[in-house]
Every structure is written in structure tokens, then in C-alpha cells.
């Protein structure tokens, strides 16, 4: 069983991402989509994610922010991912337990003035049985790059402190890549998203003593685009919320992009082609 944690700033789409993952089987069926993956959400917490997808995301609403909770209070989202092997009848099984954190946790890292309660949570997040961390980022402006790099710098000092520099995997992902400015960069996010927009953040990770073999860059789009030949984002932004709140534009066309690749890499160390 691989324990994973997800961190990232407020409104970067962490819980929405997990809802989409839990709702994946229903979406696949609705779209008549054949994939090499099958996702099975297990347990009450994961079923709640499915319900949120059905009650909130599909009827065009945004999820509420996640509250700061202690590690033991946090929901444990358990998934079994089945990967059908090409050219054989074999299936690879991946069991995951994912913990989702409040955005406040990541945002407060930037100040360097870390709340003792948050420090305890990070201590739990960096226990030896946690194999990987998905860092989900949502913005790409210069000031965002400054904030993200400051947060990640302090996160890296926690890795040092808890001796996880060499054995923890980090998947750094840009979420909401359906946005026009990012969609074309999804093929090579290392260069065209992180290199082009978040170079300071990338540099902080690359210049650190973190084991670079355990670092990978991803582009994710939980909402996706309208169709293969219609790359308009399947999202509508809420006025007054500075683009931080968005809802599905056409729920029936909801097809997330690249949801599983970072989790698969964090669990197995193997990379996948995109669009699965």
C-alpha cells in the first residue's frame, strides 16, 4: 500500500483532482472511453469524493476549501488502480492511500514563520511510510513563482530535517492546464510550463540536495477541454473570485487529462504517456 500526500496552495484544485479520480469509472463509462486504467475508490472517504463529484462538480459548482485538520483527522482516500499491460492479459495493481491537505498549509510555508500545528502535520506527512508527495500548483504569474519557490524552499528544509531527501518522491504538477496559456505546454511541462513560467520554483528544487531522480514534472487538467478537436477549456470562471473558482462548462463532456500519470509515477517510478 503506497501512502501519498497532496500539498499545494489554496484553490489549486487538490480536492477537485481527487474527486475526478474517484469519479473516473463513471466518467469512463459515460464517455465510452477505453483506457488501460481502471480506478476503484475504496472506503467511505473515497465514496464521499464520488458523491461530491456527483452532487457538486457535475451540477456545475465548485468545491469548498479543505479545512486544516491534524494528520489523524484527515480523510484517507484509498484507491486501487488497475493497469492493463499491453500485449498481455496481465494486470498491474496499485493500491494507494492519499491524504489531501488544506491549501493554507502550503501558503503559510512561504512566510517561513511556520505554525507549530502545521509543523506537526508536515512531520506526519514525511513519515517513512509515505512514499511520495504530489505538489499541485495552480498559477503561473511572476509573483506566484516567487511564493511557490519560497514555500518549496521551506518544504525542502523539512525534508532535510526528517531525512527524506533521498527516498521521498516528488511529483510537481501544474493543475488546471486546460487554460489556453498552458494547454500547449502540457506535452513537455518541464520546459514549456515550469521552464517558461515557474523557473524560480523549478530552480529551487533542482539546486537543492534533493535526489533529482525522485523528482518529476507533470501537467494535469481535472476539467479537460471540450473535445479533441475543440481545445476550449471545459471551465467557466466565477466573476469576483479572480479566476480561483471555476465550474465545468459542459458537464457531459467532462474528460480529465493526465490524472493518473503522477500517481502512477509516485507509486512505481515509471512514466506513462499522456492522456490516459
Amino acid at each position: 500500500m503506497g501512502n501519498l500526500v497532496i500539498i499545494g496552495p489554496r484553490s489549486s484544485g487538490k480536492t477537485t483532482y481527487l474527486c475526478a479520480l474517484a469519479y473516473w469509472p463513471q466518467r469512463q463509462a459515460a464517455l465510452h472511453h477505453q483506457s488501460i486504467f481502471d480506478v476503484d475508490p475504496i472506503g467511505e472517504d473515497s465514496e464521499n469524493l464520488q458523491k461530491q463529484a456527483k452532487n457538486v462538480i457535475m451540477p456545475q459548482e465548485s468545491l469548498q476549501g479543505t479545512k486544516v485538520l491534524t494528520f489523524s483527522e484527515m480523510a484517507q482516500y484509498q484507491f486501487q488502480i488497475k493497469v492493463k499491460k499491453k500485449f498481455s492479459n496481465k494486470t498491474e495493481l496499485i493500491n494507494l492511500v492519499v491524504r489531501d491537505s488544506a491549501g493554507e498549509l502550503f501558503d503559510n510555508l512561504a512566510s517561513g514563520n511556520i505554525n507549530p500545528d502545521h509543523e506537526e502535520i508536515y512531520q506526519d506527512f514525511l513519515r517513512k511510510d509515505v512514499v511520495g508527495c504530489l505538489i499541485l500548483l495552480g498559477d503561473w504569474q511572476k509573483e506566484d513563482d516567487e511564493d511557490y519557490s519560497a514555500s518549496i524552499k521551506n518544504f525542502l528544509s523539512f525534508l532535510d530535517q526528517y531525512d527524506r531527501n533521498h527516498d521521498l518522491k516528488i511529483a510537481l504538477a501544474m493543475s488546471k492546464c486546460e487554460r489556453g496559456e498552458l494547454w500547449t505546454g502540457r506535452i513537455d511541462p518541464y520546459l514549456d510550463i515550469f521552464g517558461a513560467h515557474l523557473s524560480q520554483t523549478r530552480l529551487v528544487l533542482e539546486k537543492s540536495n534533493f535526489n533529482q531522480k525522485n523528482l518529476e514534472f507533470f501537467a494535469i487538467s481535472t476539467f479537460g477541454v471540450l473535445a479533441r478537436n475543440d481545445p476550449r477549456p471545459n471551465r467557466r470562471d466565477e466573476p469576483g473570485k479572480k479566476g480561483k473558482w471555476s465550474v465545468l462548462r459542459e458537464p457531459q463532456k467532462w474528460k480529465p487529462y493526465n490524472l493518473i500519470a503522477p500517481l502512477y509515477w509516485l507509486s512505481t517510478g515509471k512514466k506513462l504517456g499522456a492522456n490516459v
Binding site: 452532487n55 457535475m58 456545475q60 459548482e61 465548485s62 469548498q64 476549501g65 469576483g240
Partner: protein, 268 residues
């Protein structure tokens, strides 16, 4: 008939799930219909929102005198009632234990606040701690479709209405910046629109919704809140929680009456 079958189908799937406890508060000026909205919700003729612990007639007897609903007592500042609400959502039934708080319209007057500082503070604490806030507004006189048989002098003018709305914006901005869910109901919809037509546009159907929540809100905002669109965005940016959502409500149409509750239940 199909609707009835749908309802029966969903009720057959009710299971014993965890009950979520919530605080939901009605606020608004005097005589906007806050208490009637809440009372009507207990009516046993329901679609997807059912009150399971409260009898319509008992509550009606309690609140009505001489055939008219009594104004909520200002001296108490709050009228609290515990409601068990069962809401049918696309993923099944959700049971909410709602601490329904009704407020008298008088409390929004400056003089009342000045004379009752303790009660005002108590009310403010209640609002700030509530998961959901339902602001109930009356129509204004100049609404183009306002029913001509209605005595329009009972309603504020457009200018007064907009000024009052700005005060609500300031209230949310300065007193409730942490509000999670603010819903605004333009009440007495039967007086200013064709409620059957609007029901067909906005009505909720768990399996085949014509509109999502965002679309419903955009529709209502465009048609009925056009004069305060900027202020609505201002509330959304000034508060931490979800963006504000607008509804039209009336006690004469169950479907429109239930919408804010269906929305809150899906969100909370």
C-alpha cells in the same frame, strides 16, 4: 407522473447515513417573508426537501395569529428551531440537522442595534458561526413585470433597494468575511414573474437537470439582479467561502422554494 416515479425511486434508496449538523440563518429586512419561507418548507407536499421532525400545522399554529404570520419578536432577536432536513441529491439522500435561526427585520435598523448591543452581538455571533446564510430580499417597485394588482407602495423603490443592497454588501464584507455560503433570495417571485415558466427553466431534477447551479445563478442574476451585478461580485471577492448564489423564491411554488436548500445541501 415521471416526476412522481423519480421521487419514489429516490426515496426507495434512502439509507441510514451520517447526519450532518449545520447552522443556517435567515436574514433580511422587515416583512420580506423570511418566516413564511421557512414555515412553508415544512409543508408535507414536498419534492426533494423534506422536514422530518416538524409538523407544518404545529408550526403554523405557533407562528400565525388572526390568519396572519406574526412578525418575529425583535426582543428575542433570534427565533431558533432545530429542523431535521432530508434532501435528495444526485448521489442519494443527505440528512442535515439544521439549526434554523430566523431573525426579525427590526434588528437591521441602526436604532435597534444601538438600543440592544448585547442582542446584536449575539445575532452577529450566530451569523458568523453559521455555515449557510440565506438573505431574503423583497422585490422593488420598478420591476418591469411587477404584478399590476399589487400595491407597489408596499415595496421599496429601485433606488432604496439598491442602497439597501449596498448595506448588505458592506455587512458581508466587514462583518462576515469568513462566510462560507451566502445565498440571496429575491422573494415573492409570484408577484414579479411567471413562476411556472421560471420553474421550468430553473427547476431541479436529480437525473436530468436542465441547468447546473452556475447556470441557474447566471440566469437569475441576469434577469433579476441586473441592477446590483457589480455588488454581487464584490460580495464574492470580499468573502472567503464560495461565491454568492442568487435565487428567486416564493411560497407559492415548491420547486423554487426548495432550490436554495438543495444548493446548500449539496455544498455543505
Amino acid at each position: 407522473m415521471i416526476e412522481l416515479l423519480n421521487i419514489l425511486y429516490y426515496y426507495s434508496k434512502i439509507n441510514c447515513e451520517e447526519v450532518i449538523t449545520l447552522g443556517i440563518i435567515y436574514i433580511g429586512d422587515r416583512a420580506t417573508g423570511k418566516t413564511s419561507l421557512a414555515l412553508e418548507l415544512t409543508n408535507p407536499k414536498y419534492n426533494y426537501v423534506r422536514i422530518t421532525n416538524c409538523q407544518y400545522q404545529d408550526l403554523k399554529d405557533k407562528l400565525f395569529r388572526d390568519g396572519e404570520i406574526q412578525p418575529t419578536a425583535a426582543l428575542n432577536s433570534l427565533y431558533e428551531n432545530s429542523l431535521q432536513v432530508e434532501v435528495q441529491l444526485p448521489a442519494g439522500a443527505k440528512n442535515l440537522s439544521v439549526n434554523w435561526v430566523d431573525t426579525p427585520g427590526e434588528v437591521w435598523r441602526k436604532s435597534w442595534r444601538k438600543d440592544n448591543p448585547d442582542n446584536w452581538q449575539k445575532l452577529l455571533n450566530n451569523i458568523q458561526e453559521s455555515e449557510g446564510i440565506i438573505l431574503v430580499l423583497p422585490p422593488y417597485r420598478e420591476m418591469p413585470s411587477l404584478n399590476s394588482s399589487v400595491d407597489s407602495s408596499l415595496f421599496p423603490t429601485k433606488e432604496q433597494w439598491c442602497q439597501r443592497f449596498q448595506r448588505w454588501v458592506n455587512f458581508f464584507q466587514f462583518e462576515c468575511p469568513k462566510a462560507q455560503q451566502i445565498t440571496i433570495c429575491l422573494n415573492k417571485a409570484d408577484l414579479f414573474c411567471n413562476i411556472e415558466k421560471e420553474e421550468s427553466e430553473l427547476g431541479y431534477h436529480p437525473r436530468h437537470n436542465r441547468k447546473g447551479w452556475f447556470e441557474r445563478h447566471s440566469y437569475v442574476k441576469q434577469r433579476y439582479f441586473k441592477v446590483v451585478q457589480t455588488q454581487l461580485d464584490q460580495i464574492s471577492s470580499a468573502t472567503e467561502g464560495a461565491p454568492v448564489r442568487c435565487f428567486i423564491t416564493t411560497i407559492h411554488n415548491r420547486s423554487l422554494l426548495e432550490l436554495p436548500w438543495l444548493y446548500l445541501a449539496s455544498q455543505l
